[in-house]
Chain length 384, copies 4
């Protein structure tokens, strides 16, 4: 009997935002020298921030407002906006539900069928307000809803699931073929697809002709994906993986596919780190749910697979802490990094000598022990 | 005098469930495409879940019920079932003991002698109810009790100790020789042996002809093995070690020995990770003790070495949180991963493109920083 | 199409004070054998401790007092001392502001213009009291304020920003060229520049002719740089990096540039570790803010970029715990390492067999798990 | 100018008890097969446990009692026993002091001069009670006190300081030369020296002819050495280092020098791990201070350098939890590993297939994530 060598499964290390820090550069810039635009195919946004496709964050009015500030807001076409005419009342029902009932309420709210007429109406609302209209849907609804939305004038189509791959096998519907989707939509409508976290999946998606990849599976926590399923890759590693794919694809084809890191970003520091990992933009949920303009009325809730058998979303109170303008541009008196995100990004870029986001993607980072909250008072001497 | 080179003891890294996460696959499946059967020699179970041989989890009625759901329940032949005719009263005594007395009460309860007549009675109860009857015992009682149980119709024999090896040296009894045990029992009765945590021990056990290995020493905590004795290997590493042994043994002999990861599994995420480490099934204790059908009446207790000199078990209140069906198959409104375990496994397998448990054993995992409970509210943006 | 190899961003590990411990030496000394002087160009200080250029720590009276004790106190020329004639009243306003108003109050206080006449006055106050006068300013004000201060008799010029590099690019002012600054000031006035954290930046600064480098970006926490911007390197790694630069520069030129680790030092243990990383001195803020002689009246506040758009400083209550003499030299009854810092350093040096700070810079350190506060009571047996 | 390569200080990893776990063996033994004697030169102790030379742990009566149980108790000749005739009253003063005064009280108590007459009296008390008499002192008092104690009949001399090396340089007294000490004492009196934590220091001490080395600098916490001074090496790494030295020295000379791990041992798990690192015995403080027989009356205090300038000891309430017999041999109803230490060691040795401590020193260990106390209730399924 020949001896067989044992093979032990190898585990590689992965990192989240709390595990890393950005290393200042050899050259510094004044923040006003930096430029932070975000290019998505032929569309240019002046700030690299995307508002998450969640009912507590984006409704048509918010989308118009957010567009004017320079960012891209994504309207979820499978949320309350396309299921109900009067969404305010529905949201109020979610917000006011007792804690013990909230999962049941969410399950009920999201079981109401989607109406195509409402899809068109919401898109037109945003366009008429002068906004850029980005809409999101899950793969199984993409063919139907993307066509309706494009017809109504949508500017960007976002296809998003917990995990997205170029090949999905299903009994219940034909898997969405992204290369076909690309052909079915006008070329001036960028297609954004997510979420993924690995080099190979990102590269394969890019090779299907899509225009941007969303990065992130289970990085947060109100999304209990990691507890329930054990699946997830922390955002620093996930973004670094997908960045490697973008660069390979860019060298191979000359086509630049944008990366949007989605999930787990709590403050300016996290946002800056996402860029330092290679992101072109970030998607924010709870940070924006806390603005006065958000439809969530101080609450936020996960919409993940709200089917009766395996709920993974929950509702949390986030409070309302300031205006959208303060959160994005300041001025602010809070010192925890949740406001003036644009100022924070430009300041960090200055410290790193990065003129553009493209420069910022190349700065050094270190694995650093977490900042402990306790004992902060004793660590003041470096403050300046 | 020749110079002697110093040798420093080398320590390798080991990992538990909280330290790792599963990486999604390059292909995804709809969960209904997946198949999660668990094969133990000639027995096929439709779900890869084993109910722990503990008095708060499995009594004959529970075993029948659990069999119908597709899993394997193990009745402990050294627990109250084989010591007392009227077990309900005994359990009530444990459950109602004041905290300060509970270790003493446990010590007393488990010093009552085992009655062979009760062993036969319990086995027949399960068989007559239509259940698959798996019974467990410690090595020193195995010859005697396995014969009685087999005679009464038991389907599976589980030999279990805190640490099990193929060679045990003792003054007080002749060590159990597993190859002899294999010959003494009918071939259609699979022998499951545990617990072990290393490549070498697992391989040696397999070479003694047993049919499944249980993996885990001191992974949990109410089992205070690690505090009291310092001995223990975290479950991810332990399962990976034993998996390497199974694959080597399979390549050498063509015989597939199943691995059952036992201990430390708190939710669907842990269950999925155990499979991703190479397990064929998992053994659950406290998760099942919380079902309405469990005999523990909302409590759970360790039965480890309940001798007067070194108690290592303790009693904890786990509460009763739902029916067995909910815990296994949902529907559920809890979002912490403790219910709908089968749904969770199938969903995770879908995300990983795994049609079978055998595929799931090969997915990638990363070492990932623990999810911190605090601050969860600020990490919502990835929820979908 | 040629295959392109993916490049994944590499992350190196970095460490802070809590992550390391000093290894005792092969030889031990009695503490009274050790010598801890700090040499800054032609100036010799008998203790290697620098009082931070913060309004809660150093005013002219404190500077005089601290000089007599053997250390170097730095007066911030952009703080209240150069903006207000009557600083006590202004400090009282900061100290007494309600928590909700404090950021606003700080923003207002530090928007009052700097008066050159006050700069001269403060410098003369210190010199007339017999103190060594070190003054600090930010790069954009350096040309103007350093000239005024030098004229008035200042002994040391400290140029300090959150991140300092040899090349800063700005639209609004010509970047400060350190080699020109060196030529514009009398040679007997050492120039101290900071803060930096990397080998390359430190080396480049040294090559511009400066006399000491301050080490540290975002190591503390009341300075919320790392949360807001994500930028920062823990102090152990930062000091080790800059030490490597100092040694290279020393070997290349024979000129020894001192390193002052600034920030994050909470107790004698941290101070000793900074030295063991290669520092020649440490800058202390909150530790000194807690002395009876400090102007902060039991409070401390960050002065970082107090502009309306992105505040990064905050005010904390530190309390008043003893005299400056006790903090530096004891005697003390506190056992947490915040008093008798000089005694601690000399004792640690004795344990390491280090006669001088230069020797102490070479001792071994290990990466050690953090001391957990909880459970301390159970770890007493090593106490002696 | 030649290019100089930068040298960055290298940091190696170190580990404490909480960071590691023992791997079970390929063979198992019944605990009654194991033998745990501890050999110190010509003295044989039946259990490998040394009672710490601290006033709250060992007085002459305790030493007699502990000897009868098979262990070695060390009487501190610089504690209250050699300073006061009536020690009970002095201890009561320490125990009853208000928290705010305790450091001052300790400083005062330990400034009373040592009386040689009391040294003799205490030694004779132990010998007349039939105990083995081990006495400890610091290096500067060793010549004087060891002679007095040997004269009175002491069996073992322990020389102990926070850090001990073979070469100590001092202005105030001639460094203790251990090779001279060896010659000055009868050969049948073993000399135990500590504390040290590195390979080189341990080896050098052994080469001076001493009989045992105590391992540990700053491992605990009530001993605030690491906070105050930054100096310390965690016990697992320290013991592994000194073990390497013992083995080298043994191979070179054939002489076996015992290792006693001192400090940081809180329960049976830690004790077993110390042995698995290579220790021959462990010194216990707070664990024994909690026995009914201990002189500390439910309190414990550090005696480290109780001089007025740099106190490093503190007083903690440990409570009285059981008899010495229970702590050493059980029976016990506590499940946290603080009682029946001997039973725990023998059980762990059985799991590892170790017949003797010498075998136990060679078992495998892994670096394992800490057991988190929280969530224990959910990790019960492995209990057996």
């Amino acid at each position: 009997m020949a001896r067989v060598e044992p093979q032990f499964k190898q585990l590689t290390h992965s990192y989240g935002f709390d595990d890393v820090a950005i290393v200042p550069g050899d050259v510094t810039l004044n923040p006003d020298q930096t430029n932070i635009f975000f290019q998505l195919s032929s569309l240019t946004f002046t700030i690299p921030i995307v508002a998450a496709a969640m009912d507590a964050v984006v409704d048509p009015a918010f989308a118009v407002h957010f567009s004017r500030m320079g960012g891209m807001a994504v309207l979820n076409l499978e949320g309350v906006q396309s299921r109900y005419q009067n969404t305010e009342e529905v949201v109020r029902g979610i917000v006011q539900a007792p804690v013990s009932d909230v999962t049941g309420v969410l399950q009920k709210v999201y079981s109401e069928p989607i109406k195509e007429s409402l899809v068109g109406e919401r898109v037109r609302h945003i366009k008429e307000g002068g906004g850029i209209c980005a809409v999101s849907m899950t793969p199984s609804n993409t063919k139907r809803l993307s066509a309706v939305a494009a017809e109504a004038g949508a500017d960007v189509v976002v296809v998003q699931a917990t995990v997205t791959t170029a090949r999905h096998i299903s009994k219940s519907y034909n898997g969405l073929v992204f290369s076909e989707l690309r052909h079915s939509l006008p070329l001036n409508i960028p297609i954004v697809v997510g979420n993924c976290v690995t080099y190979r999946t990102a590269l394969e998606l890019m090779r299907n002709g899509i225009d941007a990849v969303m990065v992130g599976v289970g990085p947060g926590a109100a999304c209990t994906t990691r507890e329930v399923l054990g699946v997830g890759v922390p955002q620093v590693t996930a973004t670094i993986e997908c960045t490697a794919a973008r660069e390979v694809y860019f060298k191979e084809t000359g086509r630049y596919v944008a990366l949007i890191t989605d999930g787990g970003i709590r403050n300016g520091g996290d946002l800056c780190k996402a860029m330092a990992c290679g992101a072109d933009a970030v998607m924010l949920g709870s940070t924006l749910a806390r603005t006065q303009e958000a439809p969530g009325q101080g609450y936020h809730w996960g919409m993940a697979n709200p089917h009766p058998a395996l709920p993974r979303g929950t509702r949390i109170k986030v409070g309302t802490t300031g205006s959208l303008e303060q959160v994005l541009f300041g001025p602010t008196v809070v010192t925890d990094g949740t406001q003036n995100l644009v100022g924070a990004l430009k300041t960090a870029m200055g410290m790193c000598g990065a003129f553009t986001i493209r420069d910022m993607q190349k700065v050094d980072m270190v694995i650093a022990p977490s900042i402990k909250t306790e004992g902060k008072a004793y660590q003041l001497s470096g403050a300046r």
